[in-house]
């Protein structure tokens, strides 16, 4: 009869962060949460080098020559997909765009079957956007060891490349993270951009991150993420160095979270008058596409403090850096 000595009741297997290998190197980019500062800075520094490539006449480096990058967008997004495509092509990769929202998923093929089929076509990297939080984790768990996954936005959970390009932009204009006040304004609870920015900002040492909006979109339990929760623009914007405005989705009105876009703009839209509460040299950011007159006034979006277009330029360099780094690391 088995008579094994009593073992401890719980022997928890340590769960390694699935985006890092045993040496702490980035093999997938799934989230900025739990991503060490050194990895974040490595991406920003690498992006800096790639930025000059974008200014050259021949905008290509051979880093991913012969590699196949699959853009897998289960949710439509022309803009993000395009920036990934440009970034991959500048690294000399072959890029295949798959608009899954209109193909196999609608025919009932499961997510993992789709991945298995594409893996059989010798994919080296998947850029994934999906409406369900966590979908890229599922994919990363089921791909072959040499295949890399980049999360291009999953549900409400994460949008790490957007956060990294935001960090790049902030560093470009503000140089140092450790003396900043950053306000993120709008629909925080449903925003993967907000979550990824919060984790990146706190990891990089920003002492005060504020989230601003009505209680339906900015519930109090967001404080668990290490941010200050503000329900008025006056409190949220005051003396901020960086103001990040988020896009307001129309669904929020139908879902009973807001009465109207007009009332939202009146209370939480960024106008020149409200921006005057921030520091005089504050920068205004937005992940795009912007809703003029809903979350941001045209005068601010096009004004001298706006860095919305430089964000797009930096985004390509940052995505090149992410793909270049993970492609060079083994699982």
């Amino acid at each position: 009869m088995a008579n094994i000595a009593p073992a401890p009741a719980i022997l928890r297997k340590p769960q390694r962060n699935p985006q890092l290998n045993a040496h702490g190197e980035l093999i997938h980019l799934l989230s900025t949460e739990g991503l060490p500062k050194a990895n974040l800075l490595q991406i920003l520094d690498t992006a800096e080098q790639f930025l000059s490539v974008n200014d050259r006449e021949v905008k290509k480096v051979p880093l991913l020559r012969g590699k196949s990058v699959f853009n897998l967008f289960f949710e439509n997004s022309t803009r993000t997909r395009t920036t990934f495509e440009i970034a991959a092509k500048r690294l000399s990769a072959d890029v295949i765009n798959l608009d899954i929202a209109r193909s196999s998923a609608s025919k009932g093929e499961s997510l993992l079957d789709t991945i298995a089929n594409l893996s059989a076509m010798q994919a080296d990297m998947f850029i994934v956007r999906h409406s369900e939080s966590g979908a890229p984790y599922l994919i990363a768990q089921h791909v072959a060891p040499h295949v890399h996954v980049v999360n291009a936005g999953d549900g409400r959970h994460a949008h790490p490349t957007q956060a990294l390009l935001d960090m790049y932009t902030i560093r470009h204009y503000k140089k140092d993270f450790t003396n900043l006040t950053v306000a993120i304004v709008g629909d925080i609870v449903h925003s993967r951009v907000a979550r990824s920015n919060i984790h990146a900002l706190t990891t990089l040492g920003v002492p005060e991150v504020r989230v601003v909006g009505p209680r339906t979109l900015v519930p109090g339990d967001l404080r668990h993420l290490g941010v200050r929760v503000c329900h008025s623009m006056e409190e949220g914007i005051k003396d901020a160095d960086v103001v990040i405005m988020l896009r307001l989705q129309n669904e929020r009105m139908n879902g009973g979270m807001l009465p109207s876009a007009g009332e939202f703009f009146k209370e939480f839209g960024l106008t020149e008058a409200k921006l005057a509460l921030a520091k005089p040299d504050a920068i205004v950011m937005h992940p795009g596409p912007i809703n003029r007159g809903v979350e941001i006034d045209s005068a601010v979006a096009d004004g001298k403090q706006s860095v919305i277009l430089p964000q797009v330029t930096f985004g390509i360099a940052v995505r090149m850096a992410v793909m270049g780094i993970i492609a060079g690391n083994e699982a």
Binding site: A2, P6, A9, Q15, H130, G134, D154, G155, R156
Partner: protein, 443 residues
């Protein structure tokens, strides 16, 4: 057929029995507890030295997936899983396809279960037709067919007038209504509201979805006098409301699932869809309150909430994965773990009694008279009573490897790779009415 189980540690929480001795069984009934008559001539003798001999487990919540979801489970596989887990009586839910709202369906299930003779089956009938929450079912007819109560499974009734009338009607005949307290609108999320859901970007189910529903049900129990069993309490506040209702003397009982009793939302980790269960896993203080509530009797029973889910419906992003986990084969070991009876190879009497009470005496008290002729002996070791017995080895340690489970459902949060749980207590023999339903005796 005469069976003698020799030299086992006989434990029965109902009578307080805990002594080494023999159990004699004749024609499906227990004929002697402690010492068999000298002239007892068994056809089969089982040496239970070092093993525990206890009443077969009674599980108040298992989905057997038949009819309608045979790709996920069938009576044959799931009742075999019950027997492998030492469960000798199981209450099954009406959320099959079609729902158990017709006497014919119930009779068919009962008949098929009887033929398999692995485990006794006690179906809950649908409270409303098709579980739609609109028209009442023929409860008296369903009772005749063998239903022991009426339930909406996971489909809460939105129209409170329908719920009120359902309770009034059930109270007319003294039937128990089994309700999982969950507000239909607040309960739409996929994970418990809290820091974990916030971080992972998963839609939340607030505690208020449970407490508001309990308040509503308690108020309706006061006005209708119906007897209600509250299924799968998941929050600390929920436990407190049950405590208050019981203190008031209302005819309310309650249970908790093995998932909510042992796990928290932190176990979701990196979107592990094995942790996608209903009600959702809540926080540490909720788990602690559930454990305390089961200990002090506020919660009457521990249930497996067995729900086999096939691979295709689990290998999906967390929010899209079908909720549910297999549990029949884990119920005994998790009861032992909860009470601390797994801490030593020969469990301390009090811890062992508590673990077994939560899965035998407690559930039988919830079922009460609805068990009919079995109500005086199921979940107990009674001379003259039915021989529903489990024999298990408390010293045997094991870990859950999903492929080794008998159930067709292989997904469980307790898989070693997910939680790293070490289990204690392996079922060696399960007898239902004195017949061997499962056997894995040490050589």
């Amino acid at each position: 057929m005469k069976i003698l189980i020799r030299n086992g540690r006989l434990v029965d929480p109902a009578s307080g029995l805990d002594q080494v001795g023999d159990l004699a069984i004749t024609s499906g009934r227990i004929t002697a507890i402690g010492n068999a008559n000298a002239d007892f001539a068994p056809d089969r003798t089982i040496d239970a030295t070092g093993l525990i001999v206890a009443p077969g487990l009674v599980d108040l919540a298992a989905r057997l997936k038949e009819p309608g979801h045979e790709h996920e489970g069938m009576l044959e596989s799931e009742l075999a899983a019950a027997a492998a887990g030492g469960v000798t009586s199981v209450v099954c839910l009406p959320d099959t396809d079609p729902a158990l709202d017709e006497p014919g369906l119930v009779e068919m299930l009962k008949l098929r279960a009887r033929k398999l003779s692995r485990c006794r089956l006690f179906p809950l009938g649908a409270l409303t037709r098709g579980l739609k929450g609109e028209a009442l079912t023929e409860m008296a007819e369903l009772h005749e067919a063998g239903c022991i109560g009426y339930s909406q499974a996971e489909s809460p009734i939105k129209d409170l007038q329908v719920l009120s009338r359902a309770l009034q009607y059930a109270a007319t005949f003294g039937y128990t209504v089994w309700l999982r307290p969950q507000d239909p609108w607040l309960g739409k999320g996929v994970a418990a509201s809290g820091p974990m859901a916030t971080r992972l970007g998963l839609s939340g189910v607030p505690v208020a979805s449970e407490t508001i529903a309990i308040h509503t049900i308690v108020e309706l129990v006061r006005s209708t006098g119906a007897r209600v069993h509250l299924c799968r309490i998941s929050s600390a506040q929920g436990v407190e409301l049950v405590r208050q209702a019981k203190a008031e003397g209302l005819p309310i009982t309650a249970d908790v699932s093995i998932n909510s009793l042992m796990l928290t939302d932190v176990d979701i980790g990196y979107f592990n869809s094995a942790m996608r269960v209903t009600p959702p896993l809540r926080q540490g203080r909720d788990r602690d309150a559930l454990q305390a509530g089961l200990k002090d009797g506020t919660l009457d029973a521990l249930v497996s909430d067995h729900t086999p889910v096939d691979e295709d419906n689990k290998l999906l992003p967390f929010g899209e994965a079908e909720p549910g986990a297999t549990g029949l084969e884990l119920l005994l070991s998790l009861a032992l773990k909860w009470s601390g009876a797994d801490e030593t190879d020969q469990p301390a009497p009090e811890a062992l009694r508590r673990a077994l009470a939560a899965v035998t005496l407690g559930p039988v008290k919830v079922l009460g008279e609805s068990l009919g002729s079995l109500s005086s002996s199921a979940g107990r070791l009674v001379a003259g009573g039915v021989a529903d017995v489990v024999v298990f080895d408390p010293a045997q340690r094991w870990v859950v490897s999903p492929d080794a489970l008998v159930s067709q459902g292989k997904h469980t949060p307790f898989a070693f790779e997910s939680t790293g749980f070490q289990m204690a207590g392996r079922v060696c023999l399960t007898l239902v009415a004195g017949q061997v339903a499962h056997e894995a005796l040490p050589a």
